[in-house]
């Protein structure tokens, strides 16, 4: 087995509020191999963004990592000092955010924003940084890059802004690119453009990609591996093929069947009952238990841990995973 690029183990993150604590991430573990594309899928509040932002030290507000390790190569990102982490962010790990409208500095020319990524890390000199910015703009498909270099974000469309974000994120040739809902704010036709751009960049650069999304369609068409999160816990994690063929968690199955696709006429919908919860105390039983059609008493008494299913690299946190697989198959 190749040495993993990023290994996150037992990550816990909480948000302190005036009167209580929100347990946003409750013991998340995952690895990203070099060149691998991992899709983290979950609904809002599942902690999918928070766990990745925690690793990068990008939590806002009162968010705080309380436990866990995140080894990137040989260093534990969670033990680094701010300065050391700053050196890694943007150079070794690039990040793309959801909303290209607000994620670019409105008062800075986009060229300067791209150059800043390189100059901060002394990746190249000033002149080279300029030339490279032009190249990058061209590479991400922005026509007339010399002129566009001097434009401000408000002069771009949403799709174009996301391209600029991508150019910025890959400017220093990172080994790992993290994309937090990169296409959610975009129209479908533009979503396709952005995804195919990401795919192209991933292949030419051989970088690992972690894509955080709530959209199974995006994840399954783009990723090598799918990880499903719920209530700050990993429910299931499997290579794509395995996940498509043998989903093993009732939540994964339920989510997948919640998606209404074109062409499925007269389909009977089986909604997952209930709503997502915000945990104000650490989970002691399966967090999905109240919404699960397969729940048993045992599910209420123990907190299922991720365990390997069969011989494959398929991990699931459900007591009845075998039954789920049999049932679905």
């Amino acid at each position: 087995m190749v040495q993993a690029l990023l290994t996150v183990e037992n990550l816990h993150t909480e948000f302190r509020r005036a009167e209580d604590v929100i347990y946003a991430v409750n013991g998340v573990s995952f690895t990203v191999a070099p060149g691998e594309t991992l899709g983290i899928v979950g609904e809002s509040g599942s902690g999918k963004s928070v766990s990745v932002l925690s690793v990068l030290g990008l939590l806002r507000g009162t968010g705080r990592v309380t436990q866990g390790t995140a080894r990137f190569g040989s260093t534990d990102l969670l033990k680094l000092k701010r300065r050391q982490l700053e050196d890694i962010r943007g150079r070794d790990i690039g990040v793309i955010f959801q909303d290209p409208m607000t994620s670019l500095n409105p008062t800075m020319r986009i060229g300067d924003q791209i150059m800043e990524a390189m100059l901060t890390h002394h990746f190249v000199g000033r002149k080279a940084a300029y030339n490279r910015s032009i190249e990058l703009l061209e590479e991400v498909g922005i026509p007339d890059p010399q002129t566009r270099f001097r434009n401000y974000p408000f002069e771009f469309s949403g799709g174009m802004r996301q391209r600029v974000m991508i150019a910025m994120a890959v400017a220093c040739e990172p080994q790992l690119l993290i994309a937090d809902e990169p296409t959610t704010a975009l129209d479908v036709t533009v979503q396709m453009q952005v995804l195919s751009l990401l795919q192209k960049l991933r292949e030419t650069r051989r970088m690992s990609v972690v894509i955080i999304t709530h959209d199974f369609g995006v994840a399954t068409n783009f990723c090598d591996r799918i990880m499903v999160m719920y209530a700050g816990k990993v429910m299931e994690s499997a290579p794509l093929e395995e996940f498509l063929k043998r989903p093993a968690h009732p939540y994964s199955v339920g989510l997948k069947s919640s998606i209404i696709e074109v062409g499925q006429t007269n389909r009977v919908l089986l909604p997952i009952p209930g709503t997502t919860q915000q945990l104000t105390e650490p989970p002691r039983s399966c967090p999905f238990v109240d919404r699960c059609t397969m729940a048993q008493d045992a599910c209420r008494e123990t907190l299922p841990q991720l365990r390997q299913l069969g011989g494959a690299d398929h991990w699931v946190a459900c007591l009845r995973a075998e039954e789920v697989v049999r049932h679905a198959g």
Partner: protein
């Protein structure tokens, strides 16, 4: 930060308190605001009963006791005409209160009316009001106060009127922008889709949502108007003596400072503390009524 809302088995969180009670809960946490509120209440009470508890009339002069330091007879001393400073201050509080409430209320009512009109009606009404607002903001309104007071006299009425009539622009602009923001929003659209009349939308949708902001603006406006009133006195155009006012006392104290500093300590000190108290209250209200939610 994608974090879902509380919804364990339905709704209804345990705390079922009214929004007012919650606001008060937040207000209480700000100690300075509470102290400020106490002072403001004291100010209000004295403003009402001051003249009755004052040991001397404000106009009583007694040259035998002129320019005395604080004594048991005159706990805050006397000025060069033998006025009892303590009594003067009690009367001044009443005058200040009249201006604070009267003038601020005039500005507030004019401002709210024009702002609402501009925001709701839009079009030319909005144009006219906003040009007027721009006009009022283009130059210091204090000069207009000066002109008005010069011409209409230095009595209570003219001063109250002058300060009131020139101070509306800020309120108008605030309420207009709030109303405008909401008028095109989905909340009002939903109400319109239900067939709500304009007055119904105003009463049940717009008004409750601008109330807090207006209360805060009003709270910030009162110390502003008190300052303007005193400022008029400093230029010699304040309330005509012998009517006592903080501004007059402070202006007079300036010239007698070296010999009789107590003439300054008490009026200036109490005046400054009052303004501060109003500001603390306003600041506390701002935090309590418009909490910045989230993380």
């Amino acid at each position: 930060m994608a974090i879902a809302r509380i919804a364990v088995n339905g709704v209804a969180p345990a705390r079922r308190r009214s929004q007012l009670a919650m606001a008060w809960g937040r207000y209480k946490k700000d100690r300075l605001a509470v102290v400020g509120l106490a002072w403001v209440i004291l100010f209000l009470v004295i403003g009402i009963i001051g003249p009755w508890i004052a040991p001397y009339n404000y106009a009583t002069t007694n040259f035998l006791t002129a320019n005395q330091g604080p004594t048991w007879q005159h706990i805050m001393g006397t000025d060069n005409l033998g006025h009892d400073m303590f009594s003067e201050i009690l009367w001044s509080v009443q005058n200040a209160l009249e201006v604070a409430l009267g003038a601020t209320l005039i500005s507030f009512i004019v401002g709210v009316a024009l702002g609402l009109w501009a925001g709701l009606k839009g079009g030319w009404a909005d144009m006219v009001v906003m040009r007027l607002v721009d006009f009022m903001f283009a130059f210091p309104t204090f000069f207009m106060d000066l002109i008005l007071v010069t011409k209409f006299g230095r009595g209570m009425g003219p001063i109250l009127f002058a300060i009131g009539i020139t101070g509306w622009a800020g309120y108008a602009r605030l309420i207009r922008s709030l109303v405008l923001g909401m008028r095109n929003g989905e909340m009002v659209e939903a109400a319109r889709a239900l067939g709500a009349t304009q007055p119904h939308i105003m009463r049940k949708y717009l008004f409750p949502n601008v109330m807090n902001n207006m209360i805060v603006a009003l709270a910030f406006g009162i110390p502003g108007d008190l300052t303007v009133m005193a400022g008029l006195s400093v230029v010699g155009m304040g309330l005509r003596p012998p009517l006592p006012s903080f501004g007059n006392m402070i202006a007079a104290a300036g010239s007698n400072m070296l010999g009789y500093p107590w003439l300054m300590y008490f009026p200036a000190g109490i005046f400054a503390l009052t303004l501060l108290a109003f500001l603390f209250v306003a600041d506390g209200l701002q935090e309590a009524l418009n909490p910045k939610g989230g993380f």
